[in-house]
């Protein structure tokens, strides 16, 4: 049943002062879709996905998430943020809280889940990201890969409808990239959650994405299935980008 799309961005524009970061972004993401976004540095990938949960404010156009339009209404913004999980490049775990406290903070205070239930749920997600034994540690005591998996579990504990990933593996040592990608692949294969992922991990894009977007200078210049995108790129800039990124 094709209901309303999960995310619908229409003619979205954003400026930083004179600098036009996002130009006429139009994007429709269906429920359960998995989208990979790539493009050169500074092309506006982070800015675009951060507009979806209002970490950045757009200046014109409309963004509708699960039927709710993002406007200057704090209550609506908080409602959307509850349903949109985000995983950051630098993890952004709360260093003064244990892993368990990181995972249960929002469920307890935002979702008003009873503490015992929130902890049981958190344990379930820690098992899914394969680090249940670290529950009582502080983030500073974990490796980068473990921290990023905790960050994914933290977002999942809110039962989000959408998950945004902003280069989740690019701050990790190479040997830890796989453990994080494995978790993300599992999540994608289980289905249910709509995923938007900014990444240059092309293997990940090939195996899980329904669509790959290529951004350049604030525009979505190409959008295709992974198969077509990698083997038959249309745009000259996409070709150049792919040749650079696949060269090494």
């Amino acid at each position: 049943m094709a209901g309303q799309p999960m995310i619908e961005m229409t003619n979205v524009n954003k400026w930083y002062g004179d600098f036009h970061v996002l130009t006429d972004i139009n994007l429709k993401v269906e429920k359960g879709e998995r989208i990979v976004i790539c493009g050169p540095s500074g092309s506006g990938k982070s800015t675009m996905i951060r507009c979806i949960n209002r970490l950045e404010e757009h200046q014109s156009g409309s963004i509708v998430v699960d039927g709710v339009e993002l406007a200057n209404d704090v209550k609506k913004i908080e409602a959307i943020r509850r349903d949109v999980g985000m995983v950051f490049q630098h993890f952004n775990l709360f260093p003064h809280l244990t892993v368990m406290e990181n995972l249960t903070l929002a469920p307890i205070w935002v979702r008003k889940t009873p503490k015992a239930e929130a902890e049981a749920n958190a344990m379930k997600y820690l098992e899914r990201v394969r680090i249940p034994e670290q529950a009582q540690k502080y983030p500073g005591q974990l490796s980068g890969g473990q921290q990023q998996r905790v960050a994914i579990a933290r977002a999942l504990c809110m039962n989000p409808k959408v998950m945004l990933f902003d280069e989740p593996t690019s701050a990790l040592d190479p040997e830890m990239v796989k453990e994080v990608l494995d978790v993300m692949v599992t999540l994608a294969q289980e289905g249910g959650v709509t995923m938007l992922c900014v990444t240059h991990e092309m293997g990940f894009a090939r195996s899980v994405a329904n669509r790959v977007l290529f951004m350049d200078r604030g525009q979505i210049v190409e959008e295709n299935t992974p198969e077509e995108f990698f083997h038959n790129p249309q745009n000259a800039r996409t070709k150049l980008f792919l040749s650079q990124i696949l060269a090494h």
Partner: protein
């Protein structure tokens, strides 16, 4: 194998006490020079101080005659004789058990507030009970206690009232000011900036003076606020402005990522601030905050200028008596020791707190 190197030949400087002395104190010409200078300084001062403080001092003088007779020793007889005046000021002599209990209550209140187990909302009722008990004991007029007007309060309890309540009430106010100064709302931001800059630009002593002399001029006819309360408010306002700037420093040190992570989870402003930002910011500012609390504790002695009998003023009162004239140094050493004990505790406590956090979170 080849890695086994021959030990250097043993000399008397290798180990034991001579070795330790050599390595720690004389390892280079400049170190040796510093050591010699310090030893010389110690020889010049320590014996003389010890002589004044202990050997030549008079502890038990019948009256003041023995003290008059000595000229190079401390007259501790003054303290023996006048310690209750210094500690409790002009509080009625036969009622001084009440301020003694108040000092004890303060120590309990400080102890509880310093313990991390109580760092939650239970502190609010604890403080309310504490304040009511302290007020009841000091003023009296209830439960058969005779009424003591606060003009007669003095000494250590008064210093503790001004400083501990000053810190306790300034702290939440300072947090609000620091948050307000970083607010996106221009009105709130302007109010907070104006307040902080205005108060910081004025010395505490003139704030106290204004509170004492000028403030009543602005009040409507017939209405008056007690002098002690005015001084207390001035101290709270002053401390809040300084603490606010210290706390703001901590807020600035928190990375943008922490705000974003909290927001992305759907936490509202107060949840984000209370659970994520403030706990981290306050941790960072423990050393400068304790530094300014120590300064505040000693600054309360400035209430001397509006005639409140805090520890400092009470000490002064102890040697105006012609019989004890000349024993001012002893009184100052005595209250100096009291001030030092409290400040030393604050300093040690802040170190322990920092070490505790570091131990818990990194290993």
């Amino acid at each position: 194998m080849a890695a086994v190197t021959a030990r250097a030949p043993k000399s008397m400087f290798d180990s034991g006490l001579p070795g330790w002395i050599y390595r720690r104190l004389f390892s280079s010409p400049s170190n040796a020079l510093i050591t010699i200078l310090l030893v010389w300084l110690a020889l010049m001062t320590v014996p003389a101080a010890f002589d004044w403080l202990v050997i030549s001092s008079v502890f038990d003088a019948e009256g003041t005659r023995a003290c008059r007779a000595i000229d190079n020793g401390a007259c501790w007889a003054l303290i023996l004789e006048k310690h209750r005046l210094i500690l409790f000021g002009l509080y009625p002599y036969d009622q001084q058990w009440r301020p003694s209990i108040v000092v004890g209550l303060f120590l309990v209140l400080i102890g509880v507030s310093c313990s991390r187990r109580f760092w939650n909302l239970s502190l609010v009722p604890i403080w309310i009970v504490g304040i009511v008990a302290i007020a009841g004991l000091m003023w009296g007029g209830v439960l058969g206690l005779t009424f003591v007007p606060n003009e007669r309060w003095g000494g250590l309890p008064l210093t503790l009232i001004l400083s501990v309540f000053g810190m306790a009430f300034a702290f939440p106010l300072a947090i609000l000011l620091a948050l307000g100064r970083r607010s996106d709302l221009p009105i709130i931001k302007t109010i907070c900036v104006t307040y902080i800059e205005l108060i910081r630009g004025v010395p505490l002593i003139s704030l106290l003076f204004m509170a004492s002399v000028m403030f009543p001029l602005f009040l409507p006819e017939g209405m008056s606020i007690d002098k002690l309360l005015r001084a207390q408010i001035a101290i709270i306002m002053f401390a809040a402005a300084y603490q606010a700037e210290v706390i703001r420093g901590g807020l600035q040190a928190i990375s943008k990522g922490q705000y974003e992570a909290a927001e992305a989870l759907g936490l509202g402003y107060w949840q984000k601030t209370g659970f994520v930002i403030l706990p981290q910011a306050l941790r960072i500012v423990i050393p400068p905050m304790v530094n300014s609390l120590i300064a505040l504790f000693k600054d309360t002695s400035l209430v001397v200028i509006i005639g409140l009998y805090d520890l400092m003023n009470a000490a002064k009162a102890s040697f105006v008596d012609p019989a004890w004239r000349g024993a001012s140094l002893e009184a100052y050493v005595f209250i100096g020791a009291i001030y030092f004990l409290f400040c030393f505790f604050m300093s040690k406590y802040s170190q322990a707190l920092e070490a505790g956090f570091a131990r818990a979170e990194k290993r």
